[in-house]
Symmetry: C2
Subunit: 103 residues, 2 copies
């Protein structure tokens, strides 16, 4: 059995574009419903930082995660939000080990 992988992705929008970035990432997230191995792809805003969007990802394995990223960049979703970013996304890589919300 391959191990689950996850990450927190921190994206910062150009000033004033936090809501637009969140909307764009919600469209990306809707597309991820069809991605094999996608367990979580939750878009969050934060009360502490108006232009930040955090995405919580969990995948059944590394291969699923990589396949979805390649597909998504090639098709629509993430490409459409890139112009809203003030800089490159930052990642906290995770190894999910259990708890409510994992099937």
């Amino acid at each position: 059995m391959s191990a689950r992988v996850g990450r927190y992705v921190r994206m910062i929008a150009t000033p004033g574009d936090g809501a637009a970035l969140a909307e764009g990432m919600l469209r990306v997230a809707e597309g991820m419903r069809a991605a094999p191995g996608c367990e979580l792809y939750i878009v969050n805003r934060t009360p502490d930082e108006e232009d930040a969007v955090w995405v919580t990802e969990v995948w059944t394995d590394e291969a699923s995660s990589e396949a979805a990223l390649e597909r998504d960049l090639g098709e629509a979703g993430l490409g459409a939000v890139l112009p809203l970013l003030a800089g490159p996304p930052e990642y906290i890589e995770l190894t999910p080990v259990g708890g409510p919300g994992l099937t």
Copy 2:
């Protein structure tokens, strides 16, 4: 309708105690299955930081989150892991807006 709330909790164990902290937090997480309003309580380790544990929480509303925290500190779970912590946990407060994994 009240808004969902979430957070990422970063906990650092005393040196060498990352695995023990993750095990303790898994016990806390199992207890959260019975907590009203708990949608996610996922315990993660990270390949980048051996003694770190991250918890991904999503609650149906702020009141559920607060009620569970009070109950848990009073009963067993979190109290048992406190001696493993090198310092106070850090929190990134979130407002989940959507995506796969939210019901």
